[in-house]
Structure formats: structure tokens, C-alpha cells
Amino acid sequence: MCDTCGCDQSNDEVTIRKPGEENNKHSEHTHEHDGHTHSHSHVHSHPNDHKQEHEHNHKHEHQSHSHERKIELQTDILQKNNLLAERNRGYFEAKNIFAINLVSSPGSGKTSLLERTILDLKKEIKFFVIEGDQQTMNDANRIKSVGAPVIQINTGNGCHLDADMINKAINELEVENNSVVMIENVGNLVCPALFDLGETKRVVIISVTEGEDKPIKYPNMFASSHLCIINKTDLLPYVDFDIEKTKQYAHQVNHHLEFIELSVKTGEGMKEWYEWIKTFSKSK
């Protein structure tokens, strides 16, 4: 079943491709009834391994008495995602990789931030990028043109990346030791908050053209982030955005949250962001 709207299509709309693989027919597949017969090869992402629990026939007949019993589980509903996220985290740790999960609303400047960061730091740090969007290869193409290996996850109708998609993407990308992996999540301040990807740090980006009350409107995202980047500070003279108010709101939600104010366009404040990356990165 589809992960997003519950239609009978399973979640096969998710594609994971590198730039240049746009017309790759390998990501297409056909369905034959509900038995999941796929005619395709590789990069097939499926966040949930749907098992065929139905048609579960017991051959042994029970007696007429009831076997009804209660099992206390206390199981985390997201345990499967969380387990996979921990596997990703172990992979990153073993390979000395600093993995950042970038989250924000659409249009806050995530891709532009990545482009400039890669251009400015690529001599010092090896970057690998995982792009998440519902559709198009546009962001992956932008990242490729600034010279970083990139893979695009298109979630179809999905509203967030999950640990399984990242697991497949890092294998496809052949991420190197001592590198920095930038994961640009789907632009959405709600759903990605719940899904641990195994990242080392979560960075939430807000731009000054948005409302300063975003942190209390979308508290789950700000509560689960380590760093808040306030972008487009060059536009401050033209908008009614009170940075101190935003910080105050964000600190109400998460008193550990750090802040960096910057403008990707003018470069103001970028140095502080680079220092932050270098603090955690093991690259030489």
C-alpha cells in the first residue's frame, strides 16, 4: 500500500538516481496483483517491506476452546526506522563521516547554502550530497555542477526522507571515509521531524522572509535540531523580521539550540558555518 495516501499502489514511486540517470528505465517496474512482482533492477527504494501477512493458513486445527491472550508489547512504532537509522549512524561513525540532515520549509535556501559551502570548502573537505524532493532532478544537477558526488531521492508523494532511503542512497553513492555527507531533506517543517536518518547533527534553516514565530508554530522540528541557521540576513532591511524574537521562541522550544546568522548571497556569516562544520568534520 502507498505510504502516503493509502492507495493500492505500493510505495514504488520512490526513486534514487544520480544525475544523468533521469531516463533510466531501470527504475520502472510493473505490478502483477499484490504479490509485488517487479520487473526492474537496482535502486528500488521501499521504505516499508510489506510482508504478505494475509493468507496465513494454519494447518493444525485448534480445539473449540479459545486461545485468546494478550501480549504486552510496549514497542516503539518507529522501531524499524530507528533501527535502520542506528545502522546508518554506525556506518557514519565507522567511516569517520560527519552527516548533516538539513531541514526547513521550501525556499529557505538549503540548496543554495549547499552549493556555496561545497564551492568554498571543496579543497579542504570531501562532500557527498543526498538530495530529497518529491519530484525532479533539479537539485542534484545543481550540486553536481559545483563538483560534489550527489544522488537524488524522489519521494513521489512522500513528505519526508526515512532511514531506509538513506541506507540505500549511501550505498549507491559509495561514500568515502573522512567525508561530510549532506542530506537535504524534503522541504517540510512537519513530517521530517519524526524520522531519524542516522545523521550526526540536524540543522534547521529559517530565512528572514518567513515568520519569526516558525519555531513555536513547528516546535517538533526545532526541538529535534542541534543548529538553527538564519539565512538571507541581507534582506533584513526590507522585512519585519526580529532575529532576537526568533531566537527567543526557538530557545523556548529547545534550550540547547545554537544559531548562526548568515547570508548565502553576500557571504556574510558563512565563516562561522564553515567553522561549525570543521569542528565536527574529520576531513583534512
Partner: protein, 113 residues
């Protein structure tokens, strides 16, 4: 609409556990959802109606238990019940609080035969 992802996870986890116990059927499932977990019970209920089709959970009675948020103030150790992530301590006014309950997303139990 991440509730559909959550619903499918519930079906998967509950079905796996039921099969481990050689169950033919799940009669009832108890699900605990914290009030500040980021999941709305009404949206989850809607998603589950679709997600349980053709599974062991298809005819199971679904019981939702809402877990109220509980926070502890890190300044004065006062325990109180916030309705959001960003409420000050009701005793000393500090925002330096720690959420103890309210983020739960759990399957509490299943009733099988």
C-alpha cells in the same frame, strides 16, 4: 501526512509480533500516542482504516490511549503538565524544561487468538 507511514509501521510491528506468537487473528490493539508526539490520533485513525486491509489487524478493535505531556523544570525540579513544547515552568517561569512524557508512539499491547 506522515500518519500513513506511522499506520503502516503499526501494522507491520503488530503483525510480526502476532505471527511470532502463532496467532490467527489480532482482536484488539492498544496504541499509545503522546499529546506532543507530532502524530494526530484522528489522522492516524483515518490512515489505519486503510492500512489494516488484508492484514491480521483488519478486524481488530483499535484502542488509542492519549499520553498527556509531563515536563520537569531543570531549574526548580517542579513537575507540571505543559500542552506544548514551549511552555514555561508553572512554578518558576523558566523555559529550561525537560519533557518526560508526551512524545510516546507505542504499541502497548495486542490481544490475539
Amino acid at each position: 501526512m506522515h500518519e500513513m507511514s506511522i499506520a503502516l509501521s503499526i501494522v507491520e510491528v503488530a503483525s510480526d509480533e502476532a505471527l511470532k506468537a502463532n496467532a490467527k487473528n489480532i482482536n484488539e490493539i492498544e496504541i499509545e500516542i503522546g499529546t506532543i508526539s507530532g502524530v494526530e490520533i484522528s489522522a492516524l485513525e483515518f490512515s489505519l482504516e486503510l492500512a489494516v486491509k488484508n492484514t491480521l489487524l483488519e478486524n481488530a478493535q483499535r484502542k488509542f490511549i492519549s499520553i498527556p505531556a509531563v515536563a520537569e523544570c531543570l531549574e526548580c525540579n517542579f513537575t507540571f503538565a505543559p500542552t506544548t513544547f514551549y511552555e514555561p515552568c508553572t512554578s518558576c517561569g523558566s523555559f529550561t524544561i525537560k519533557i518526560i512524557h508526551g512524545k510516546e508512539l507505542k504499541i502497548k499491547s495486542i490481544n490475539i487468538d
